[in-house]
Amino acid sequence: MKGVEFSLAGAQLTALGSGALWWRDKSLLCVSDLHLGKSERILRKGGSHLPPYDTQDTLIRLEQDLQRTNAQTVVCLGDSFDDLDVLGSLPEAANDWIHQLQAGRRWVWIEGNHDPGPIELPGSHLAELPHPPLTFRHIAESGKSGEISGHYHPKVRVQTRLRGISRPAFLFDSDRVILPAYGTYTGGLRSTDKAFVNLMRPEAKAIITGQTPRIVPMPRREN
């Protein structure tokens, strides 16, 4: 699996092209904003009847990353479910699948703004996970360091010589890394947004997801 290595607070991390973060020394795989059950939520809100394809697609990719890394610990960085009611309405197959993925490994659910409470799946449920020298939480807090977060669904637009390309991306500097959304049907926030420009140091870099992840200085203004 191709990845870009970088270090944060002394920890050696790999940003995978899929959007997952791999901490080899601790055998820990971190994914953010899975938004499982988005289609069920749309249904409950009175939308159309959708088979839960997005959930399946997200789980397939997660399964592939788990097979490649054989991670002993998985940290889901919040907004794993589109809301707390989703769990009851996830089809049995999806529920079973999550149980299968969980078998034989430690699993941590960090709370997000979409799923701010305990859920009925195995694993630890935490507001945040300190794992020195790092801390895993859903939303970045300014002034912290060694922080791994998600929430914003960052993406980056690069103007190449022949065409502009926009993709989900990791953003990192010496204090933190913000993960792209791992879920299938999720929008994104450009790296040029005020939220990122204020939060990230001037020398911050972006790792663009894709077949081969690419590292570039984080774009801070539209080009």
Partner: protein
């Protein structure tokens, strides 16, 4: 020889008319189980179809419905009602004639079912609905004849297949029903006869005198047509001149958007204020009716129109037809030309106006084809299964049935004569459960088998819902446009939802020849206000885009082989000469590919002449092959005659690109994730009842429907790729939007005769493709390489290394 009853002879004599030979023929052979009349416009076709009905009703007592008339257009049904009333009233016949279409008020419709008129005029959709009611047998009791007008138009579409299934149903209710088809000139009458007959019964064909050849030419203008585009704005002054010289001119366009833009420009140049109207399918019904009425009164000097006027409504004294843009299809051109001069035995007058330089060549080729009576025919495939599914569900809505009976009934329809029992059973299973992958979902569990073996609706309440989803017309989702007012302003027409979604408040566009300003969307209605500006944002609601027919494409290739082209205007002949001197012209039986650099990219231009849809598909398949071969393609654009592809690397050996097996393989895997497939799937799934079109009168937003149908498609692809809907989608893909059949045909024609010409500049014939709209971007290794380049550049610039 059947003599006319006295009151008919008297009426004909009074009018000073004599009966046409084909009208007499229709009368003589009125006992034939099926009868097809081929006659040109103005040949008294409709009267020929109705004479046996009128004489029968005049000479015998008949209670209940006697004759059912089906036409593809609502307007045509209303028009025929008017035209039939005249002889019926003048002869004092006691015959009740009514029409029934989507526009008929509900209370009226209900009464028609209980107390049907002698002659009911309707459309295929309304007929399908009529047969879906529990009391269908009572409504149609005594029915003797069915007359299908403009059957050539219906035979080419799913609407015709639906109609023939409804006829099979009627045949079961009223055995011995006589079928009559009325058709314009076609290339293969036998095909239409098979389509019309109750299989395996024969169908007799009556050919009326085709009348004199049309007087047809290309409009000459002082200004040369532009290199690209479809507006033909350059020809406005010349068109206006023609309008002035004639009594009434019909100005045909291939798409609604082009018609709107042309109409707008025509009015800007119409200094004398000649009365000119516009008519197309997106306009509000009230507006259309107004234009039609003005037309009949002879108040209009010209009418800008689209296919909505293709079929035979009688429009008074049209003495000139102008076709803007290449006709794409010779048969349709001939039928359009027939709209001018409704007097039998007088030549019709028509002018062709090419919209761009390439269309000049196409128009000349089409003119030659018309002169040689060389019509293009596309063979019709077997009846589509989505229509079959809809029919099964509607059949269930009318009452319980035995599978064996329904199967036997359906195979009497010509298009379904070869339907296998296995395919039928799959369709029935789909209607009952939704198919394997969807069996867990309640909303698709619709039929159940009773202990006595009959199939019926699981929940009788679904009948209403099924009726609401009936129909096979797949117009893209349209939103009503209204003037903004406190309480529902004036309706103007409809625009496509995708177009509406691209508008922001303040944007202006054209509709019904008016420039309006977009104000906002309210409850699925686009609200607009009048705008005083002169330049609108272009209306992109598209109408149908046709592909140039195989036969016409071959004619163009043959034309290219000549030494010189005196029949072409000088500007166009010079263009071809220049191209020939720098490269070479495409040839029949060979495939020309040009390879050249331009604007930091490498290009190839593939002159496949396979029609727009197939060239588009070829672009998708070739870019996929190039991706696999590491040539880093970036995008393509297609026209009716060529596909232009650009990428990071040059193609030096095209042969492996066109390997037939690899292209087929590419098609299979590409089809899987493709947007066109999803669109095709959506159409088929809507017709087959998998996706709902309407929900109790409330139209679902197109975007909602797209979302759910796309996800359904992905789900089936992954978990049940052999699902009936997937099979139907793949079958349709071979024709229609994907049109792979024509790529196959081209590859067979070309074999290994592929010529690569390498150039260092843009070749003249390829130049217009750079101006073509609708470029498709391809992402893949080219993006990866561009990103890698950019990564290196950015990191170096930042003083970093990776």
């Amino acid at each position: 020889m059947s003599d006319l009853p006295p009151q008919f002879q008297h009426w004909f004599a009074q009018k000073g008319w004599s009966i046409h030979p084909h009208q007499q023929d229709m009368l003589n052979r009125s006992s034939a189980p099926a009868l097809l009349l081929i006659a040109p416009t103005g040949g008294g076709k409709t009267l020929a179809g109705f004479l046996p009905t009128l004489t029968d009703l005049a000479t015998s007592d008949h209670t209940g419905m006697h004759t059912l008339y089906v036409s593809p257009l609502k307007a045509l049904a209303a028009d025929i009602k008017r035209n039939l009333r005249t002889p019926v009233d003048e002869m004092g016949l006691n015959i009740r004639i009514e029409d029934r279409t989507g526009d008929t008020p509900n209370f009226h419709k209900k009464r028609q079912r209980a107390d049907p008129p002698h002659i009911l005029l309707t459309t295929p959709e309304s007929l399908a609905l009529l047969t879906s009611y529990e009391d269908a047998a009572r409504t149609f009791a005594g029915l003797k004849r069915i007359v299908i007008d403009e059957i050539h138009a219906l035979a080419e579409s799913k609407r015709g297949d639906q109609l023939m299934l409804a006829l099979a149903r009627l045949e079961a209710i009223c055995p011995g029903l006589k079928r009559v088809g009325l058709s314009a000139t076609v290339d293969k009458p036998e095909d239409i006869a098979t389509f019309l007959a109750c299989n395996p019964n024969p169908c007799e064909i009556i050919q009326a005198d085709p009348g004199p050849d049309p007087d047809i030419a290309m409009l000459t203008t002082s200004e040369a047509p532009p290199w690209s585009g479809g507006g033909a704005a350059y020809a406005i002054p010349a068109v206006l001149e023609q309008v002035k010289k004639h009594k009434t001119t019909l100005i045909f366009h291939n798409t609604r958007a082009q018609a709107e833009i042309f109409f707008h420009n025509l009015w800007l140049a119409n200094d004398e204020g000649l009365p000119i109207g516009i008519h197309h399918g997106s306009l509000d019904r009230a507006q259309r009716t107004k234009v039609e009425a003005a037309m009949v009164r002879g108040d209009l000097r010209a009418i800008v129109c689209t296919g909505s006027l293709d079929l035979g409504i009688d429009w008074g004294d049209v003495d000139l037809v102008i076709q803007i843009g290449a006709p794409k299809n010779v048969k349709r051109l001939v039928q359009r030309i027939g709209r001018a001069n409704h007097r039998y035995n007088a030549p019709s007058k028509a002018l062709l106006v090419p919209a761009n330089r390439f269309e000049v060549i196409e128009c000349v080729a089409a003119l030659q084809a018309v002169q040689e009576h060389d019509l293009d025919g596309e063979t019709q495939g077997a009846g589509p299964l989505d229509v079959l599914c809809q029919h099964i569900l509607l059949r269930a809505a009318s009452g319980p049935f035995m599978a064996d009976d329904l199967y036997a009934e359906m195979t009497t329809a010509g298009a379904y004569a070869d339907l296998t029992r296995a395919d039928f059973d799959t369709c029935l299973e789909f209607c009952a459960t939704g198919g394997y992958a969807l069996r867990a979902y309640d909303q698709w569990q619709r039929l159940m088998q009773r202990p006595d073996g009959q199939w019926q609706l699981r929940d009788p309440r679904t009948a209403a819902k099924l009726r609401m989803n009936a129909g096979t017309i797949q117009d893209s989702d349209l939103l009503k446009v209204r003037m903004r007012r406190s309480r529902g302003g004036k309706p103007l027409g409809e625009i496509e939802e995708s177009f509406a979604a691209s508008l922001t408040p303040g944007d202006t566009f054209l509709i019904g020849g008016k420039i309006v300003k977009y104000e906002g969307l309210r409850e699925m209605t686009v609200e607009v206000s009048r705008d005083k500006g002169r330049k609108p944002k272009v209306a992109t609601f598209s109408g149908t885009k046709f592909s140039t027919s195989t036969q016409l494409s071959q004619r163009i290739l043959k034309l290219f082989q000549k030494e010189d082209w005196p029949e072409l205007p000088r500007h166009t002949a010079e263009w071809l000469h220049l191209h020939k001197s720098l490269s070479r012209l495409p040839e029949p039986g060979r495939l020309l590919i040009e390879s050249f650099p331009h604007d930091n990219r490498h290009h190839i231009c593939v002159y496949g002449f396979a029609g727009r849809n197939a060239q588009q598909t070829l672009g998708l398949l070739l870019t996929k092959r190039m991706e696999d071969m590491g040539l880093a393609p970036m995008g393509f654009v297609a026209t009716d005659y060529a596909t232009l592809i650009w990428g990071l690397d040059a193609v030096t050996d095209p042969t492996p690109l066109f390997d037939k097996d690899s292209l087929h393989h590419g098609l299979d895997s590409w089809l899987a994730g493709n947007a066109l497939m999803k669109r095709t799937f959506r159409g088929a799934a809507t017709i087959a009842g998998l996706i709902e079109r309407n929900h109790m009168g409330q139209r679902k937003s197109g975007r909602q429907a797209t979302f759910s149908s796309d996800i359904l498609y992905d789900t089936l692809l992954k978990y049940d790729p052999d699902h009936l809907m997937m099979k139907i989608t793949r079958q349709e893909a071979m024709r229609g939007l994907v049109d792979f059949a024509r790529i196959d045909e081209m590859l067979d024609r070309v074999q290994d005769r592929i010529d690569l010409v390498q150039l260092d500049r843009v070749p003249p014939l390829a130049a217009p493709l750079f101006l073509e709209v609708g470029k498709v971007a391809v992402s893949g290794s080219a993006e990866e390489r561009l990103l890698a380049e950019e990564e290196a550049a950015l990191m170096t610039a930042a003083g970093l290394s990776t």
